[in-house]
């Protein structure tokens, strides 16, 4: 769209935190130092599944360490992720293990004067374990007679039995699926397997907790939601929320891994309360790699279509390996069918999702929350369907995609809205031109060592989990905007910025709404006691929902500015308007018909102050009543080396419909980052587990298989572009981008590899070794 009418939106602007970040002066949780602070360490279980027969902390205490064991903590079961409403929340987790269910689970913890003493003390704790059979395969875990990982868990407030290690399941049926498949001319199907990969966020999980003299707590955590951390700590430790203050601290990347309250936070709180001193607790990288992963899935998908390419329906069975704890697989199972039916028009759908406990790292949200997994399956099958029908897969996608005017429920069955902005045709056409889609190789047409392939996949993510009705997902934001005495503006929000520049977008939205230069908008430090609730930065909602809240508050401020100026100027408020005076470099309220009736925002604010009247400020909550899809299409060109099995990225065209682009530089960065992370998921990353439940990499980067800069496609080979699009329900027409950028990438790579060597892969990652073996089996190695 035309950005010229905006003052700051659509223009590349420097991030407000950029100098602090590049000079190293930004202070993350791990940098927080408090007077009298001591250091915590956790005792990690050396078994993946074991009963704890006894814990002896005598020697550790003799060294002067403060120790906590299961006996010292509140015996409250909780779910560390509280995005779902309480009545459908599964709770299986205590602060410290009642029984060990995964490798490196915290059994006890210590705090001591120095890190070295804490380490020494934690090693002095004696634990007697009774090892139990370890379950690392979800299908074995589901078999009758398999060792139960849990006996009971809580479902809301009700205690329920866990049968066959199944944590929860969900079924959805819409339309007449049997008839759709009976009427189908073509059916395509496949069983897809995706790995549990590590988030590989740069910052190790850390927290500082300070006990207060009133019995409360102040917390500096790594988190995506300060308010949810506060609510959980209040509930677990039975402290009024007014006495629990959680500070917003910059995050060194999360990729979803801090969507839940991190495991270290309540442990550190318990240590601080017992020690009566501030405590810092940081996970080592090895501990962190055992602490969380993406959901591993098995997806059996069938698509039914007519001869003309019209999709009729789908059947999907999904099994999720959730690891040792329930971090809301119930909502994961719900959104997974949402991703499918919101990608293409599938009026008839039958779905069963099953979430299974194993003795592995707990699965939690990671960039897309099931969307990359489902899109890998769906977009592979769309390619196969096009081939079966003898049609261009791009045209098949255009014919069936969910677009303008269609019902959309990406975030699950209860989160429905209508698509109001749709750049998909533009994204597909433009990307096809950039990558020369028409002239891509024919599968099976190449021989020789190096083979070129072009792949396409499209996808989306929801901007927030908003909907007209409340539903079972909590989603709303809040913001406060106030005008300072000199006319500068403070934006105060509990929203977290994971590093992508979300808070900068909010500052730009406030600057645009109030006609104030961006440098006069300040992002105020935030903490729970002085901000209104914001649920969590996830679901690609930061700009759309968090920005929506800031816009709503800014509009209130704008109205008050007009009314206040009207009072001083003796002009009707409705006769006044606000504009940016570029010469004065500030906002001006004026009456277009009476030019001398004008006041700068600074003049208004100064008078309000010196005449002892008021601060112009507004606080608002904002519930998005829509959930617009942020569309992305990915075209990627690869070269497969049939001698080594290596896949090189030659070129990529990353197209995004994120509505109004707030900051083009950072939006391009999101697309490049999405490609990079998706490429790792497609081609290299895989956590493997030993039969005893140990991660094969033992938590070391060297074998963690996360791609590094050497694998990342060159920036000059990535062509990023944006659809001309405006989302009516978004702030200044904006919607999200982050997770959308990575969701289709793995599918695009799989399709590109197929195009190059004529072999389909249904399991990620598609490693050199896997490719080489497949090429050999097909007898095409020479």
């Amino acid at each position: 769209m035309d950005h010229s009418k905006f003052n700051v939106l659509g223009k590349a602007t420097q991030r407000k935190d950029s100098v602090a970040k590049v000079t190293g002066s930004e202070r993350y949780s791990i940098d927080i130092q408090l007077p009298r602070m001591i250091y915590g360490r956790i005792l990690s279980s050396p078994y993946a599944h074991a009963r704890i027969k006894g814990v002896d902390v005598q020697d550790a205490e003799a060294m002067g360490a403060v120790c906590i064991t299961f006996d010292d903590i509140p015996h409250v079961r909780y779910n560390e992720r509280i995005i779902t409403i309480p009545s459908v929340l599964h709770k299986d987790h205590f602060i410290l293990a009642d029984k060990v269910r995964r490798m490196a689970e915290a059994v006890a913890a210590v705090a001591a004067e120095t890190e070295a003493l804490a380490e020494k003390a934690v090693r002095a704790i004696k634990v007697e374990y009774e090892p139990l059979p370890v379950l690392i395969d979800p299908f074995q875990a589901m078999q009758s007679g398999a060792e139960p990982i849990y006996d009971t868990i809580l479902w809301g407030e009700e205690e329920i039995q866990v049968e066959n290690n199944i944590a929860c399941s969900r079924q959805v049926e819409e339309g007449d699926v049997d008839q759709a498949f009976a009427e189908a001319d073509v059916i395509v199907e496949g069983t897809f397997k995706t790995p549990k990969i590590y988030h590989a966020q740069m910052e190790p999980k850390s927290v500082v907790c300070r006990p207060e003299s009133d019995g409360g707590l102040t917390i500096w955590p790594t988190t995506q939601s300060i308010h949810n951390v506060r609510i959980l700590l209040g509930e677990i430790f039975n402290i009024p929320l007014s006495k629990v203050n959680v500070k917003r601290v910059p995050i060194g990347g999360t990729f979803g891994s801090s969507i839940q309250m991190n495991s270290v936070i309540p442990i550190c709180a318990a240590l601080a309360l017992k020690a009566r001193r501030p405590v810092k607790l940081t996970l080592t990288r090895e501990e962190d790699m055992h602490d969380h992963t993406r959901y591993g899935t098995w997806i059996a998908l069938k698509l039914a279509a007519k001869k003309d390419g019209t999709l009729l329906g789908a059947k999907m069975e999904l099994v999720a390996d959730i690891g040792a704890h329930n971090i809301q697989p119930y909502s994961f199972l719900g959104v997974c069918v949402g991703w499918l039916v919101s990608l293409y028009k599938l009026p008839n759908v039958r779905y069963r999702g099953t979430a299974v406990y194993t003795n592995k790292a707990p699965s939690c949200a990671m960039q897309g929350f099931g969307n990359p997994q489902v899109t890998f399956a769906a977009e592979t099958l769309m390619d196969e369907l096009a081939e079966k029908l003898g049609t261009d897969s791009l045209e098949l996608r255009l014919k069936n995609y969910i677009g303008l005017g269609d019902t959309f429920w990406g975030q699950g069955p209860l989160v429905r809205s209508i698509v109001q902005s749709d750049g998909v045709p533009e994204l597909l056409r433009q990307g096809a031109e950039i990558i020369d889609w028409e002239n891509r190789p024919k599968p099976g047409s190449q021989s020789g060592r190096f083979r070129r392939g072009v792949g396409l996949a499209r996808g989306f993510h929801t901007s927030s989990a908003g909907a007209p009705q409340p539903g079972d997902v909590i989603d709303f934001s809040g913001a406060m905007v106030k005008v300072n005495q000199d006319g500068s503006v403070d934006v105060i929000t509990a929203l977290m910025d994971h590093g992508g520049g979300t808070l900068d977008a909010l500052a730009k939205i406030a600057a645009e709404a109030l006609c104030v230069p961006l440098e006069k908008v300040n992002l105020a430090p935030a903490e729970t006691r002085s901000t209104v609730y914001d649920c969590v930065t996830h679901a690609t909602r930061g700009v759309y929902a968090g920005g929506g809240a800031v816009l709503k508050a800014a509009e209130g401020v704008r109205q008050e500015l007009l009314e206040t100026a009207a009072h001083y100027l003796n002009v009707m408020p409705d006769a006044l308007t606000l504009k940016l005076d570029k010469q004065q470099s500030q906002g001006v309220v004026y009456a277009p018909s009476i030019p001398e009736k004008r006041m700068t925002i600074s003049e208004i604010a100064t008078r309000c102050w010196t005449e002892s009247w008021k601060t112009i400020a507004t606080v608002e909550s904002y519930r998005p009543v829509n959930c617009p899809p942020a569309y992305v299409t990915v075209f990627v060109e690869v070269e497969v080396d049939t001698w080594t099995g290596e896949v090189r990225t030659k070129r990529a065209a990353m197209g995004s419909d994120c509505g109004t682009v707030i900051n083009p530089d950072m939006a391009v960065g999101q697309l490049e980052g999405g490609l990079s992370k998706g490429m790792g998921y497609a081609l290299c990353e895989c956590n493997q587990w030993e039969p005893d439940g140990q991660i094969a990499s033992r938590g070391y980067w060297v074998d963690a298989k996360t791609p590094a800069i050497g694998e990342t496609p060159y920036v000059q080979d990535i062509h990023s572009y944006f659809a001309d699009s405006y989302e009516p329900s978004g702030p200044f027409g904006a919607k999200g981008i982050g997770e959308a950028a990575t969701n289709p990438v793995a599918a695009a790579y799989a399709n590109a590899v197929y195009n190059a060597i004529n072999i389909r892969f249904y399991e990620l990652p598609i490693t050199p070794e896997v490719i080489l073996k497949a090429v050999e089996e097909k007898g095409q190695s020479k």
Partner: protein
């Protein structure tokens, strides 16, 4: 990390005396990129460590009697900037460039890499094909051991507890020779080798292969030479057919294992690819007779 005593000798004789008195309870510590990891994960308990970083005798690169002599405490990062290494140890420089990560390269030493004796030690294949020897010093004197004998198994060498690896030496490469090092990892940077290979070939005046040496890492209990493949090259023109055969014979020599980084089968196949690629490149690099 468990507690330990740290000795900090200032000279080589002092260090050898400490070793002589306290071995085998005293373990030499150079960059610590292996030892510290082993300690943290409780794989080894060390009673006493001896810091080698202050011993000037273990630093520096020099030419001596037609050989290049490299102090064992030379870091991997130093290999990348030393002009003598650039001239007479190009293969070692190639290995250094892809050795672990820049942070590790700043700490890790060549001597430490060899004494740790990982089958995947990246400095070993280049030193094997350059016919290097290691010098081991003790209070009793100095002895030289050929590279191909020094490493005997996983984390096992011929170094006696009272000995210190002080230097590594190899004959300056001949004029009509060329070689290379290459490795395959799970990614390009910050990785252990899944397979590594080094080759060195020398042509005679007629352009025939006068000598060939091939070394392979991460495919046996120690870095090994592929003697059978080397032999068939000697006296032959380095043409694709014979290079292919050398690749195949190299693959037959190895005894790899399946692990997190790759299967035995994949490793065997990559040996063939790497040897073929390195030999072809080396054969082209040697300037033919005018």
């Amino acid at each position: 990390m468990p507690e330990f005593d740290l000795l900090m000798p200032q000279t080589l004789p002092e260090a050898l005396e400490m070793l002589g008195d306290r071995a085998p309870d005293l373990t030499p510590l150079a960059g610590g990129t292996n030892v510290i990891v082993y300690m943290r994960e409780d794989r080894h308990r060390y009673k006493m460590l001896m810091d080698l970083t202050r011993l000037n005798e273990l630093h520096g690169v020099r030419r001596e009697d037609g050989h290049l002599v490299l102090g064992s405490a030379t870091t991997i990062a130093e290999l990348l900037t030393d002009p003598l290494i650039a001239e007479h140890g190009a293969l070692l420089r190639q290995a250094a460039a892809v050795f672990a990560s820049p942070l590790v390269r700043n700490r890790a030493t060549v001597g430490g890499n060899l004494v740790d004796a990982s089958p995947a030690a990246d400095t070993a294949p280049p030193l094997l094909v350059m016919n290097a020897e290691v010098e081991l010093a003790s209070q009793k004197g100095v002895r030289r051991v050929p590279m191909d004998e020094f490493m005997v198994g996983v984390n096992e060498t011929l170094r006696q507890p009272e000995e210190l690896l002080v230097s590594i030496r190899w004959p300056l490469p001949a004029t009509r020779s060329a070689g290379g090092f290459s490795k395959i990892g799970l990614r390009k940077g910050a990785v252990c080798s899944v397979v590594s290979a080094a080759v060195m070939v020398e042509k005679d005046e007629d352009g025939l292969c006068q000598s060939a040496r091939i070394a392979l890492g991460a495919v046996a209990t120690r870095p090994i030479r592929a003697y059978a493949a080397e032999e068939i090259l000697v006296g032959q023109p380095l043409k694709p057919q014979i290079i292919d055969l050398a690749g195949q014979l190299s693959a037959e020599t190895v005894k790899p294992i399946d692990d997190i980084r790759g299967s035995a089968d994949y490793r065997r196949r990559m040996v063939e690819v790497l040897v073929r690629r390195l030999l072809s490149r080396a054969a082209q690099e040697i300037v033919p007779r005018e």
